[in-house]
Symmetry: none
Amino acid sequence: MIDFPYISNICKPTKSKIIMLVADGLGGMYHPDYGSSELEAARLPNLDKLAATSSCGVTTPVLPGITPGSGPGHMGLFGYDPIKYLLGRGILEGIGIGAPISQGDVVARGNFCTLDEKGNILDRRAGRLTTEEGQFITKKLNSIKVDGVDVEVHHVMGYRFVLVLKGKNLLDSITDTDPQITKIKPLTCQALSNEAKNTANAVNSFVSKANAVFGDMNGSSKGLLLRGFSSLPSLPNFNSTYNLKSVAIASYPMYKGIAELMGMDIIKDLNGFQEEINALKTKLNEYDFFFLHYKPADSAGEDSDFNRKVKALEDLDSYLQQITDMNPDVLVVCGDHSTPSYMGSHSWHPVPCLVKSKYSQPSDGVFTEMSCRNSELGSIKAQELMLNVLAHAGKLNKFGP
Amino acid sequence: MIDFPYISNICKPTKSKIIMLVADGLGGMYHPDYGSSELEAARLPNLDKLAATSSCGVTTPVLPGITPGSGPGHMGLFGYDPIKYLLGRGILEGIGIGAPISQGDVVARGNFCTLDEKGNILDRRAGRLTTEEGQFITKKLNSIKVDGVDVEVHHVMGYRFVLVLKGKNLLDSITDTDPQITKIKPLTCQALSNEAKNTANAVNSFVSKANAVFGDMNGSSKGLLLRGFSSLPSLPNFNSTYNLKSVAIASYPMYKGIAELMGMDIIKDLNGFQEEINALKTKLNEYDFFFLHYKPADSAGEDSDFNRKVKALEDLDSYLQQITDMNPDVLVVCGDHSTPSYMGSHSWHPVPCLVKSKYSQPSDGVFTEMSCRNSELGSIKAQELMLNVLAHAGKLNKFGP
């Protein structure tokens, strides 16, 4: 948790309701073709009105200049040090498809690839492997037995899968088999400590048996590449740390997965933001902290689509009234990272945020990157946002006599 | 000390005089009934004029969202990490009344309470116990002898007292006897480690003998409640760390006590700010760092009295000329925390500060929360202020070759 060991000592239970709306990829930057950032271009009457009576600021997800993945981006918002509690690639991919993963399992991200007659990698993504082909191969691979270890293969889509090793004394301190380049053979998995040798042996045994399975199949020679071996981290529990009862309301498995790791309850089978808002209404009396996730702004930014990102932000604005009508004691609008359409990717830029409560102070601000930075909260670390949120909820006792 | 291990290496002695005026509870926030913060409402011609030629900023006492007590609030201003050097409640209460406390003593905050016939707590504050009654009880309790430990009871006022245990191998890792609720019996003190068992035994022996004393007294059944057992922390010395000769000029014992823990000299028997200013004049040639404490703004904020806080700030402004007339090389005006009258308590809000020296840069600023935040120093941690102060005093050599 944030570098403040006394947080649980000073967090008291209250009846306050906190809604934290995380707009994925919320922040942007100036786009030379349009002469503004997406937030500056968007018509956001509801967000601007809210910002004018909220405590606004910008959050730096990890450190200045550091572009976070979805894992660190979200961990920070909930007060977890995103450097200390880094989720491995295998774990994030696994929870992203809702694969059952337990403490002590070792999980890897996998690619099906194609190999030439010498066994060198031709294509790291196995050409145009269809999802049906991927599912077929996955089924075959799940029949493989490895001594002392249960191996599960979960198909993601197309050429992508997740490998889960379950068993005793497994360790994730082992090397990738994916060299991330072509024209060489897949690497042998190596242990980075004596204690991890049995895990590396299990991986190599699985790969060898998988190659035999591929050999029996018709068509071009297939292989597999594994990277990002990782285990579940031991995370402080969100609810007990902050004295909250929390629930995650999100459509995408990855965000539900991250929330579940922190100890939040999860609402299943939601599809799109209106369904999420409906679920929020239904659950309003059951919980006191609501993590509500909005995805479209990030996707548009990733696709370098300035206008679609503007539209996604305007859509979010039009949903806002339904949320403010629920009269939460604290409403937070924030983002896990910036996704400027100019860059077409996540970026390091600080992300606008607002905290609305009875302790918010009025300003003449609007909800843009520059206006938020010059507002009450100023520029803070993402992991410090949660402290402000708890303060606004009246949940923090004084620190020290 | 602040997370900068080289501070002593680069601090050089100079003839610079530094006056740090700490206005307790200086910062505030927007009050909806008045349409502004207290600093914004107050007429502060001298402070505003000073701010316009000073380096201004805001200090965050501990972390964003965290409301500090007086201990952490002051520790930060003098460059001490307020989380690392947390003073216990017993210690702060003890130094607050000037009780003689040595390294290794264990100190608790005590309440006289009333108990019903079954020994359950009726009133945690013993009704309307007068100071005379409190003094009478204290005198009785000071006759109690406990094996191997010297026990001292110091009366504070009304129902409040301080217990000091002096002896060998005493440890403060023991639990409170004050349950902080009524209708149950006072708790037994328990050791949180094997090494602390003799301390817990001494406490329980004292409580048992005190109950016998109370039993011999007429009137409603009395008892006592103890909490916040703590020992003196081992603090780096302010003078040797910064190469300064420092003195604290304050009327209230608690602030003198904190300063004394840091190694500052203390001026005794001051009553009110004019007497403090007089003492400052007298001592100007003897020291090079002066911690000058102004209390009334905090008290008014605590009492939710917007107008009285405005008046307290205007009073401070009217004293200012006497201080600037002394021509210190560096004049600092800062606060240990905010005390918005809207909240009627300490709060987490960043606190305005100014540093005036020959290196200050002019601005069009005034001395308010928002103007200071958007000024030269920006938003910094309280424990970083001292570095700025030393820099303005010309006391810091270059760091690194």
